[in-house]
Amino acid sequence: METRPYFVFGDLLANATAGALVGAISALIFGPSWNMLVAMFVGMAIGMVLSLPLALGLGALFGAMEVMVPVMTTGMVAGMVVSMRASMGDVGLGRAAEIGMMSGVGVMIATYLANAVIKRRAPKWTQ
Protein backbone atom coordinates (compact mmCIF):
# COMPACT_ATOMS: atom_id res chain seq x y z
CA MET A 1 0.00 0.00 0.00
CA GLU A 2 1.25 3.49 -0.85
CA THR A 3 2.26 5.30 2.34
CA ARG A 4 4.35 8.20 1.02
CA PRO A 5 2.33 11.33 1.96
CA TYR A 6 2.98 13.10 -1.37
CA PHE A 7 1.43 10.26 -3.36
CA VAL A 8 -1.42 9.57 -0.90
CA PHE A 9 -2.34 13.27 -1.10
CA GLY A 10 -2.01 13.15 -4.90
CA ASP A 11 -4.28 10.12 -5.17
CA LEU A 12 -6.87 11.78 -2.95
CA LEU A 13 -6.70 15.04 -4.88
CA ALA A 14 -6.92 13.32 -8.27
CA ASN A 15 -9.87 11.09 -7.41
CA ALA A 16 -11.83 13.72 -5.49
CA THR A 17 -11.35 16.26 -8.30
CA ALA A 18 -12.27 13.79 -11.04
CA GLY A 19 -15.35 12.66 -9.12
CA ALA A 20 -16.55 16.20 -8.44
CA LEU A 21 -15.99 17.28 -12.04
CA VAL A 22 -17.70 14.25 -13.57
CA GLY A 23 -20.55 14.51 -11.03
CA ALA A 24 -21.21 18.17 -11.84
CA ILE A 25 -21.09 17.66 -15.61
CA SER A 26 -23.33 14.58 -15.34
CA ALA A 27 -25.90 16.69 -13.45
CA LEU A 28 -25.94 19.13 -16.37
CA ILE A 29 -26.43 16.36 -18.95
CA PHE A 30 -28.90 14.01 -17.27
CA GLY A 31 -32.35 14.65 -15.88
CA PRO A 32 -35.72 13.03 -15.12
CA SER A 33 -36.47 12.63 -18.85
CA TRP A 34 -33.74 9.98 -19.12
CA ASN A 35 -34.41 6.26 -18.76
CA MET A 36 -32.36 5.18 -15.74
CA LEU A 37 -30.66 2.22 -17.45
CA VAL A 38 -29.69 4.26 -20.51
CA ALA A 39 -28.49 7.11 -18.26
CA MET A 40 -26.34 4.67 -16.30
CA PHE A 41 -24.45 3.35 -19.33
CA VAL A 42 -24.11 6.75 -21.01
CA GLY A 43 -23.01 8.25 -17.69
CA MET A 44 -20.32 5.60 -17.24
CA ALA A 45 -18.94 6.22 -20.75
CA ILE A 46 -19.00 10.01 -20.42
CA GLY A 47 -17.38 9.79 -16.98
CA MET A 48 -14.49 7.73 -18.31
CA VAL A 49 -13.88 10.03 -21.27
CA LEU A 50 -14.05 13.17 -19.10
CA SER A 51 -11.62 11.78 -16.54
CA LEU A 52 -8.94 10.79 -19.09
CA PRO A 53 -7.39 14.26 -19.61
CA LEU A 54 -7.40 14.82 -15.85
CA ALA A 55 -5.73 11.44 -15.31
CA LEU A 56 -3.04 12.29 -17.85
CA GLY A 57 -2.43 15.74 -16.37
CA LEU A 58 -2.30 14.69 -12.72
CA GLY A 59 -0.46 11.49 -13.68
CA ALA A 60 2.51 13.62 -14.68
CA LEU A 61 2.71 14.81 -11.06
CA PHE A 62 1.67 11.78 -9.07
CA GLY A 63 2.29 8.60 -11.11
CA ALA A 64 1.17 6.98 -14.33
CA MET A 65 -0.92 3.84 -13.85
CA GLU A 66 -1.39 4.57 -10.14
CA VAL A 67 -3.33 7.70 -11.11
CA MET A 68 -4.85 6.67 -14.44
CA VAL A 69 -6.46 3.42 -13.29
CA PRO A 70 -8.32 4.75 -10.21
CA VAL A 71 -9.17 8.14 -11.74
CA MET A 72 -10.80 6.56 -14.78
CA THR A 73 -12.62 4.15 -12.46
CA THR A 74 -13.78 7.17 -10.47
CA GLY A 75 -15.03 8.75 -13.70
CA MET A 76 -16.96 5.62 -14.51
CA VAL A 77 -18.49 5.27 -11.03
CA ALA A 78 -19.27 8.98 -10.54
CA GLY A 79 -20.83 9.17 -14.00
CA MET A 80 -22.95 6.11 -13.27
CA VAL A 81 -24.11 7.18 -9.80
CA VAL A 82 -24.92 10.81 -10.64
CA SER A 83 -26.63 9.99 -13.96
CA MET A 84 -28.87 7.44 -12.24
CA ARG A 85 -29.62 9.85 -9.39
CA ALA A 86 -30.43 12.62 -11.88
CA SER A 87 -32.79 10.36 -13.84
CA MET A 88 -34.85 9.92 -10.65
CA GLY A 89 -35.22 13.67 -10.10
CA ASP A 90 -33.31 16.90 -10.46
CA VAL A 91 -30.04 17.00 -8.54
CA GLY A 92 -28.33 20.31 -7.92
CA LEU A 93 -24.85 21.02 -9.23
CA GLY A 94 -23.31 21.23 -5.75
CA ARG A 95 -24.95 18.02 -4.57
CA ALA A 96 -23.86 16.23 -7.77
CA ALA A 97 -20.27 17.39 -7.27
CA GLU A 98 -20.46 16.21 -3.66
CA ILE A 99 -21.75 12.74 -4.70
CA GLY A 100 -19.03 12.56 -7.36
CA MET A 101 -16.35 13.55 -4.88
CA MET A 102 -17.51 10.89 -2.41
CA SER A 103 -17.46 8.35 -5.25
CA GLY A 104 -13.87 9.35 -5.98
CA VAL A 105 -12.77 8.95 -2.37
CA GLY A 106 -14.59 5.59 -2.24
CA VAL A 107 -12.85 4.38 -5.40
CA MET A 108 -9.48 5.48 -4.05
CA ILE A 109 -10.02 3.53 -0.81
CA ALA A 110 -11.30 0.50 -2.75
CA THR A 111 -8.27 0.60 -5.06
CA TYR A 112 -5.87 0.83 -2.10
CA LEU A 113 -7.59 -2.21 -0.57
CA ALA A 114 -7.53 -4.10 -3.89
CA ASN A 115 -3.84 -3.31 -4.24
CA ALA A 116 -3.12 -4.62 -0.72
CA VAL A 117 -5.15 -7.80 -1.33
CA ILE A 118 -3.52 -8.51 -4.72
CA LYS A 119 -0.03 -7.94 -3.36
CA ARG A 120 -0.73 -10.07 -0.28
CA ARG A 121 -2.24 -12.86 -2.34
CA ALA A 122 0.67 -12.96 -4.77
CA PRO A 123 3.50 -10.82 -3.40
CA LYS A 124 5.96 -12.89 -5.31
CA TRP A 125 4.69 -15.19 -8.02
CA THR A 126 7.12 -17.91 -8.92
CA GLN A 127 6.60 -20.66 -11.43
Binding site: M48, N115, K124
Partner: protein, 201 residues
Protein backbone atom coordinates in the same frame (compact mmCIF):
# COMPACT_ATOMS: atom_id res chain seq x y z
CA UNK B 1 12.85 -0.43 -39.19
CA UNK B 2 9.19 0.02 -38.25
CA UNK B 3 8.69 3.56 -39.61
CA UNK B 4 5.26 4.05 -38.01
CA UNK B 5 6.47 3.22 -34.50
CA UNK B 6 9.63 5.27 -34.97
CA UNK B 7 7.61 8.30 -36.14
CA UNK B 8 5.26 7.99 -33.15
CA UNK B 9 8.11 8.07 -30.62
CA UNK B 10 10.09 10.71 -32.54
CA UNK B 11 7.02 12.93 -32.28
CA UNK B 12 6.58 12.55 -28.52
CA UNK B 13 10.31 12.75 -27.70
CA UNK B 14 10.52 16.53 -27.01
CA UNK B 15 7.64 16.42 -24.50
CA UNK B 16 8.04 12.91 -23.15
CA UNK B 17 9.68 14.00 -19.90
CA UNK B 18 6.87 16.44 -19.15
CA UNK B 19 4.39 13.54 -18.96
CA UNK B 20 6.65 10.87 -17.52
CA UNK B 21 9.64 12.53 -15.97
CA UNK B 22 8.43 13.45 -12.50
CA UNK B 23 5.45 11.64 -10.95
CA UNK B 24 5.84 8.20 -12.51
CA UNK B 25 9.62 8.07 -12.07
CA UNK B 26 9.46 9.30 -8.49
CA UNK B 27 6.73 6.78 -7.67
CA UNK B 28 8.51 3.85 -9.32
CA UNK B 29 12.02 4.80 -8.16
CA UNK B 30 12.39 2.24 -5.31
CA UNK B 31 11.20 -0.63 -7.53
CA UNK B 32 13.35 0.34 -10.52
CA UNK B 33 16.41 0.83 -8.33
CA UNK B 34 15.89 -2.65 -6.90
CA UNK B 35 15.41 -4.23 -10.34
CA UNK B 36 18.44 -2.54 -11.91
CA UNK B 37 20.58 -3.54 -8.91
CA UNK B 38 20.56 -6.99 -10.56
CA UNK B 39 22.87 -5.63 -13.25
CA UNK B 40 25.98 -7.79 -13.24
CA UNK B 41 29.47 -7.44 -14.68
CA UNK B 42 28.75 -9.18 -18.00
CA UNK B 43 27.41 -7.67 -21.22
CA UNK B 44 24.10 -5.89 -20.62
CA UNK B 45 21.52 -4.88 -23.20
CA UNK B 46 18.99 -2.22 -22.21
CA UNK B 47 15.81 -1.87 -24.26
CA UNK B 48 14.54 0.84 -24.76
CA UNK B 49 16.58 3.77 -23.48
CA UNK B 50 13.95 6.40 -24.37
CA UNK B 51 14.89 9.77 -22.89
CA UNK B 52 17.12 8.07 -20.34
CA UNK B 53 14.77 8.40 -17.37
CA UNK B 54 15.90 5.00 -16.06
CA UNK B 55 19.60 5.77 -16.16
CA UNK B 56 19.77 7.49 -12.72
CA UNK B 57 18.59 4.18 -11.22
CA UNK B 58 21.42 2.14 -12.76
CA UNK B 59 24.12 0.99 -10.36
CA UNK B 60 27.44 2.72 -11.11
CA UNK B 61 30.30 1.39 -13.21
CA UNK B 62 28.31 -0.92 -15.48
CA UNK B 63 28.85 -1.37 -19.20
CA UNK B 64 25.51 -1.16 -20.98
CA UNK B 65 24.48 -1.30 -24.64
CA UNK B 66 21.24 0.69 -24.98
CA UNK B 67 18.95 0.69 -27.98
CA UNK B 68 15.85 2.67 -28.91
CA UNK B 69 13.81 2.82 -32.09
CA UNK B 70 13.72 6.64 -31.89
CA UNK B 71 16.91 8.63 -32.48
CA UNK B 72 15.03 11.72 -31.24
CA UNK B 73 14.51 10.00 -27.89
CA UNK B 74 18.22 9.17 -27.73
CA UNK B 75 19.08 12.83 -28.44
CA UNK B 76 17.02 13.86 -25.40
CA UNK B 77 18.70 11.09 -23.38
CA UNK B 78 22.24 12.30 -24.13
CA UNK B 79 22.78 14.43 -20.97
CA UNK B 80 21.67 11.53 -18.77
CA UNK B 81 23.93 9.13 -20.69
CA UNK B 82 26.87 11.53 -20.31
CA UNK B 83 26.18 11.94 -16.59
CA UNK B 84 26.21 8.19 -15.89
CA UNK B 85 29.18 6.89 -13.87
CA UNK B 86 29.85 3.98 -16.24
CA UNK B 87 29.61 3.19 -19.94
CA UNK B 88 26.45 3.41 -22.01
CA UNK B 89 26.75 2.86 -25.75
CA UNK B 90 23.53 3.69 -27.59
CA UNK B 91 22.19 2.73 -31.01
CA UNK B 92 18.97 3.74 -32.77
CA UNK B 93 17.62 0.29 -33.52
CA UNK B 94 14.44 -1.75 -33.87
CA UNK B 95 14.32 -4.72 -31.48
CA UNK B 96 13.14 -6.88 -34.38
CA UNK B 97 16.26 -6.11 -36.43
CA UNK B 98 19.12 -6.23 -33.93
CA UNK B 99 22.44 -7.03 -35.66
CA UNK B 100 23.93 -8.55 -32.48
CA UNK B 101 25.04 -12.16 -32.68
CA UNK B 102 23.25 -15.03 -30.97
CA UNK B 103 24.01 -15.27 -27.26
CA UNK B 104 26.00 -12.04 -27.20
CA UNK B 105 24.56 -10.65 -23.93
CA UNK B 106 24.48 -11.96 -20.37
CA UNK B 107 21.51 -9.86 -19.26
CA UNK B 108 18.71 -7.89 -20.89
CA UNK B 109 16.73 -5.19 -19.10
CA UNK B 110 13.55 -3.49 -20.29
CA UNK B 111 11.49 -0.70 -18.75
CA UNK B 112 7.93 0.10 -19.89
CA UNK B 113 8.81 -1.19 -23.33
CA UNK B 114 6.60 -4.12 -24.26
CA UNK B 115 3.43 -2.05 -23.97
CA UNK B 116 4.62 -0.40 -27.19
CA UNK B 117 6.49 -2.98 -29.28
CA UNK B 118 3.98 -3.73 -32.09
CA UNK B 119 4.68 -7.48 -32.20
CA UNK B 120 5.73 -8.26 -28.63
CA UNK B 121 6.28 -12.02 -28.91
CA UNK B 122 8.59 -11.59 -31.91
CA UNK B 123 10.42 -8.77 -30.13
CA UNK B 124 10.89 -10.91 -27.03
CA UNK B 125 12.06 -13.82 -29.19
CA UNK B 126 14.79 -11.52 -30.54
CA UNK B 127 15.85 -10.70 -26.98
CA UNK B 128 16.02 -14.43 -26.27
CA UNK B 129 18.18 -14.90 -29.36
CA UNK B 130 20.77 -12.32 -28.29
CA UNK B 131 20.87 -13.63 -24.70
CA UNK B 132 23.28 -16.44 -23.91
CA UNK B 133 21.53 -19.68 -22.89
CA UNK B 134 20.50 -19.25 -19.26
CA UNK B 135 20.95 -15.46 -19.49
CA UNK B 136 18.58 -13.22 -17.52
CA UNK B 137 15.73 -11.05 -18.72
CA UNK B 138 14.59 -8.44 -16.20
CA UNK B 139 11.56 -6.33 -17.04
CA UNK B 140 9.71 -3.44 -15.40
CA UNK B 141 6.42 -3.30 -17.28
CA UNK B 142 2.79 -2.26 -17.04
CA UNK B 143 0.25 -4.71 -18.38
CA UNK B 144 -3.47 -5.30 -18.52
CA UNK B 145 -5.32 -6.49 -15.43
CA UNK B 146 -7.24 -9.71 -14.91
CA UNK B 147 -9.62 -8.00 -12.46
CA UNK B 148 -12.89 -6.18 -13.13
CA UNK B 149 -13.41 -3.20 -13.46
CA UNK B 150 -9.77 -2.49 -14.24
CA UNK B 151 -9.67 -4.97 -17.12
CA UNK B 152 -12.79 -3.51 -18.77
CA UNK B 153 -11.48 0.02 -18.43
CA UNK B 154 -8.03 -0.77 -19.76
CA UNK B 155 -9.50 -2.61 -22.74
CA UNK B 156 -11.65 0.44 -23.49
CA UNK B 157 -8.71 2.83 -23.08
CA UNK B 158 -6.28 0.96 -25.31
CA UNK B 159 -7.60 2.11 -28.73
CA UNK B 160 -7.08 5.69 -27.55
CA UNK B 161 -3.77 5.36 -25.70
CA UNK B 162 -2.16 3.30 -28.47
CA UNK B 163 -2.46 6.34 -30.76
CA UNK B 164 -0.41 8.41 -28.32
CA UNK B 165 1.99 5.71 -27.15
CA UNK B 166 1.48 2.54 -25.15
CA UNK B 167 -1.22 -0.11 -25.12
CA UNK B 168 -2.78 -0.64 -21.70
CA UNK B 169 -3.96 -4.23 -21.94
CA UNK B 170 -0.91 -6.27 -22.94
CA UNK B 171 -0.42 -9.71 -21.37
CA UNK B 172 3.35 -9.39 -21.17
CA UNK B 173 3.85 -12.26 -18.70
CA UNK B 174 2.16 -14.62 -21.14
CA UNK B 175 4.16 -13.14 -24.04
CA UNK B 176 7.45 -13.78 -22.22
CA UNK B 177 6.55 -17.46 -21.95
CA UNK B 178 5.29 -17.55 -25.55
CA UNK B 179 8.68 -16.24 -26.73
CA UNK B 180 10.38 -19.26 -25.17
CA UNK B 181 11.66 -17.77 -21.92
CA UNK B 182 11.39 -19.62 -18.65
CA UNK B 183 9.57 -17.45 -16.14
CA UNK B 184 11.31 -17.22 -12.79
CA UNK B 185 9.49 -14.55 -10.85
CA UNK B 186 6.77 -11.93 -11.21
CA UNK B 187 6.41 -9.26 -8.54
CA UNK B 188 3.42 -6.93 -8.39
CA UNK B 189 4.27 -3.27 -7.91
CA UNK B 190 0.76 -1.82 -8.32
CA UNK B 191 -2.35 -4.02 -8.47
CA UNK B 192 -1.56 -6.66 -11.10
CA UNK B 193 -0.88 -3.83 -13.57
CA UNK B 194 2.66 -2.65 -12.82
CA UNK B 195 5.10 -5.49 -12.23
CA UNK B 196 8.64 -6.74 -12.46
CA UNK B 197 9.34 -9.92 -14.39
CA UNK B 198 12.41 -12.15 -14.23
CA UNK B 199 12.87 -14.85 -16.84
CA UNK B 200 15.76 -16.81 -18.27
CA UNK B 201 16.61 -17.71 -21.87
Amino acid sequence: MDAVTKAKWDKVAPNFDVMSGYGPEKRWAPYKRELFSKMGDGRILFLAVGTGLDIPFFPPRKSVVGIDISDKMLEVAKPRIDAYDGEIETHPMDVHEMPFGDGSFDQVFTSCTFCSVPTPVQGLAQLRRVLRPGGDLYMFEHTGSRYYPFRLMMNLMTPLTSRLGPEMNRDTVHNVGAAGFELREVQHVYLDVVKTIHATA
